[in-house]
Symmetry: C2
Subunit: 226 residues, 2 copies
DNA sequence: ACCTGAACACCGTTCAAGT
DNA sequence: ACCTGAACACCGTTCAAGT
């Protein structure tokens, strides 16, 4: 009986941080973040929950491990071609896809500070691109934050519409929604469909990049004069 | 003994949704979101946990109630003076202060869809301002989303630096951080201090509003020609 | 070194019962 | 209508013990 259970769950190789975090991510993707428990995760790995504590000090550290997996995945998709600014743009676009591919995980990842080597390395690489594009440290910091804010916000919004939320107030829009009560919402809703969201995100990034390039050419002009 | 406990917790008036949500918010502010439990909340109200289920169907609905409180609070701070666009700007600025005043609550609020009457009313009012500023429904939707994305992202970033996180990977920056390993991060860090964040947020909103006004004057010119 | 078992101190929620 | 008590099916984490 015990042997049967173990074989069914595939426990051949020994555990390691990466495999645990990987399985945890699938669990989150399939069942939502609050369905991730050390006990259930252990079950999926054919192991007692307590075995996991040999690889992660606690659940929070496991979440850091999941963030690492995602960042490595994002980094792997990035190609080194194009100008530095094009690469910056592609990096943020790739980060945004996390929200779409892992909606349940995204929310808990987004507020985590970069604490691991992997995360810091990712951050360093991204800032290097800003540097290569000719931005000063001050400009790099500012535009990194602006773009990160915007991308994170877009991701969060996307999560809201994609990930099923635990049933809260059952006053779902469709139930009680009267167009005459909320005329502006009614008017705007067609333009905020999931199908439009991507284009809106792009337009926002366009605005930020235009501003950035404006600052860069100004600097070039100043240099030419002096 | 039981009487002592009750009197200590002030249970004079009967419960109502608003008071429960209010106390829940203070609990979150003081102890963090994952310290909010129905049992503990009941304790603070001098009541058994199960009594709360008479006012909220479940914990998720309680969170909706907290969001309502916050939105009412934000709305109360807004004055009706100035141009519609100025009022839009002040609305987002006020929303941002939530992240600063309720960092622990912010994260769980930000991904909640607007399901309650209160939240929809707030949304309607905000979209009305866009309308009054002369934006088309498409423009209203787009700029609402752009500004909301940006503000939410800024809030999330702020939460990351303000709200204490459960101890995860103990590789805190200071511990292992070697400037030569992460030169770009080192360079940029001084410009991303908490004291600078506010200014960066403002610069981002400035960029968005400049773009918005650009679209508006273009439309005016088109109208004049035709 | 890596995993188990039992235990501790908690959860959200249901349900029948009290007033 | 509003609250209680007991119960169910869970949690994260500690700690001593096994191999």
């Amino acid at each position: 009986m015990t042997a049967e259970k173990k074989s069914a769950k595939a426990k051949a190789e020994p555990l390691d941080r990466n495999r645990i975090a990987q399985v945890a991510l699938t669990l989150i993707d399939e069942q939502g973040i609050d369905q991730l428990s050390m006990r259930k995760l252990g079950g999926m790995l054919g192991v007692e929950a307590m075995a996991l504590y040999h690889h992660f000090r606690n659940k929070a550290e496991l979440l850091d491990g999941i963030l690492d997996i995602i960042l490595v995945d994002v980094a792997a998709r990035l190609t080194p071609d194009g100008t530095p600014l094009e690469r910056v743009r592609r990096t943020f676009d790739a980060l945004r896809t996390i929200a779409i591919e892992h909606p349940h995980a995204f929310l808990s990842m987004v507020s985590r500070r970069f604490r691991t080597q992997v995360a810091l390395k990712f951050y360093e690489q991204l800032l290097l691109l800003f540097h290569q594009a000719g931005l000063s440290p001050e400009q790099s910091g500012r535009y990194y934050r602006l773009m990160a804010n915007f991308t994170v916000g877009a991701g969060v919004a996307e999560v809201g519409s994609r990930a099923r939320q635990p049933d809260a107030t059952p006053i779902i829009l469709e139930n009680f929604y009267s167009p005459e009560e909320f005329p502006r919402i009614t008017e705007v809703m067609p333009f905020l469909r999931v199908s439009e969201i991507d284009q809106i995100y792009c337009s926002g990034m366009d605005i930020l990049f235009t501003a950035l390039k404006g600052e860069l050419t100004q600097a070039v002009k100043r240099d030419a004069l002096s």
